[in-house]
């Protein structure tokens, strides 16, 4: 009898061990409520930002001074052409909100990347080499932690001039502390492992040990911090733009929209309510995803 299926050896590692660690990780992710909810909302916002030109009903910069401060759909006097109403210059609020997601996401992701590279480099270096190097880097981290971030960011943005790039650069250069602290201790732990000693014994160069032995072991921590730092950067950008020292008008930054709506808070509180709710939902989604990944990747959850 001819058996058409290929014989499976009992020693086939793929079968003996079941799904790979990565596979198990994603399987646990799928079963986790806050990963699914946070990730789902985040995905929706990312899609909204990417397809903004297709989704936005109007040009976010087009002013229409005859239709200023139209209320959103749930209030009386609303115009179906402007679902979320218009701002004080008659610009469509929904379109500005959709395009605003691009700014928040761009700032969050670019800042987290930049600060992640700086912080991880510092943390891994301190943790791997220890001794003097560690003392110096710990000192740099302590100094950074002793500087009030909002004040420093405001002063630097005032100096270089507010723009999207300036905000990313300033926040990226400031928000690396948490990466450095966590990566330092994670690397210290990984360094004492036998396989690192083995790699060193066979003469592996340091950079390769760091990249191929240490980094894969601390990558979970890195992803968790990165999500929290994305949220942190989004909130800081909003605060800077609100204070007039972040992204500059007429860009549809959500923080800037709140600042521009501040004068109309008395009669039209929805002008500040809408972008604030959008910001809160985005940050909540990112934080939930981060919390979820942390839970899923925590050692006590590994079976």
């Amino acid at each position: 009898m001819a058996d058409v299926t290929a014989p499976i050896s009992p020693l086939d590692p793929a079968r003996a061990l079941g799904p790979s660690p990565t596979g198990r990780f994603f399987r646990r992710m799928r079963g986790h409520t806050s990963v699914m909810v946070g990730g789902g909302i985040l995905l929706a916002i990312v899609l909204m930002a990417v397809f903004a030109p297709l989704l936005a009903p109007h040009d976010p910069y087009a002013q229409d001074l005859f239709n200023r401060l139209l209320p959103p759909f749930w209030m009386e006097g609303s115009n179906p052409a402007h679902l979320l109403g218009t701002d004080n210059l008659g610009r469509d609020y929904l379109s500005r909100l959709i395009y605003g997601a691009q700014i928040s996401l761009l700032i969050g992701i670019c800042t987290a990347l930049l600060s992640g590279i700086i912080g991880s480099a510092l943390g891994v270096t301190a943790g791997y080499f220890g001794g003097r190097v560690d003392t110096v880097i710990t000192f740099i981290i302590t100094t950074r932690l002793s500087m009030p971030i909002v004040l420093v960011a405001l002063a630097i943005v005032a100096l270089v001039g507010g723009s999207l790039e300036a905000v990313i650069l300033v926040l990226g250069l400031l928000l690396w502390d948490r990466y450095a602290v966590v990566m330092r201790s994670a690397t210290q732990q990984a360094r004492s492992m036998d396989y690192v000693a083995a790699a060193r014994a066979i003469g592996c160069p340091t950079w390769r040990i760091v990249l191929s032995e240490i980094l894969p072991n601390v990558i979970n921590n890195l992803i968790v911090i990165a999500t929290f730092e994305i949220a942190h950067a989004i909130l800081l950008e909003a605060a800077l733009s609100f204070l007039g020292l972040g992204v500059q008008p007429p860009a549809p930054s959500w923080g800037l929209m709140i600042a521009e709506g501040k004068e109309f808070l008395l009669f039209d509180p929805w002008v500040i309510a809408i972008p604030g709710i959008a910001l809160s939902i985005l940050v909540l989604a990112v934080n939930m995803l981060g919390d979820g990944i942390r839970d899923v990747s925590a050692p006590e959850n590994r079976s």
């Binding site: 000192f139 100094t143 002793s146 004040l151 005032a158 500040i272």
Partner: protein, 305 residues
Amino acid sequence: MLNFTLRRVAMAILVAITVSIIAFFLVRVSGDLAIALAGEEASAEDIAQIREMYGLDRPIIIQYLDWLGRAVQGDFGESLFFPETVWELVATRLPTTLQLAVSGLVISLMVGIPFGVIAALRPNSWIDRMAMTIAVAGQAIPTFWMGLMLMVVFGLMLGWTPISGDETWVHFILPAVTLGYYSTPPIMRLTRSGMLEVLSADYIRTAYAKGLHPMPVLFKHALRNAVIPVVALASVQFGHMLSGAIVIESVFAMQGIGFLAWESILRNDIAVIQTILLIVSMFYVGLTFISDLLNAWLDPRIRVS
């Protein structure tokens, strides 16, 4: 412990000096101080004269040492905008900010610790879950927006509180709540995890086994040990509140150093920005030092590493 303390003192001094250097140079590179002093329309001779008068033609290191030497004696120079000296200006504004930060901290401790304890006593109960859900949701709300919304609801719609200013304690309610709610979740989480850890300790079981009343066990034995890291965290949070005050004071138009810093940054009032940056950083250095000592006192393992 003494050895550890001395090392930490040395570290704190070194950090303080580094921060002062950064505060000095950061603001100095922002523009030519002589032009700022002389005004936009000043002639080249005027600028040169001012540069000489204020010693701005000297090497930058000498200028820094001069600035630091004066700062240590309480002379922070003149504001470009206000008639008072920078020291007078900051000294009159600092109490408002401190009052705001202390109120915010008290609110977050008064909410965070009880809820943390309750959550730890009934882990995974509905109250635990609710507290944690509110904590996660609360962290997502931008503080300045929270302040504005509180202003709309309690100030404008209900008319319970004034919407801006800092004249009476009533003016501090909304800003303090805004500032406090953001620090509440970390305090609540730390109280919860600390209590969970302490409650499973042997000496608590012994205390119960001896037949002690649950309340004294809870407060005298458990909470007292669980709360020390919370105090350490609170001192760091206090520093964040001083920094966060810049946003909150701007929202509520309170005349504290945060609002002053913002105005001064917009006006490029260099001496004021430098001074506020330096003072807030010194608070940070001091508070981090206190927090380190508390943690080391609590956990002897920290002292030796």
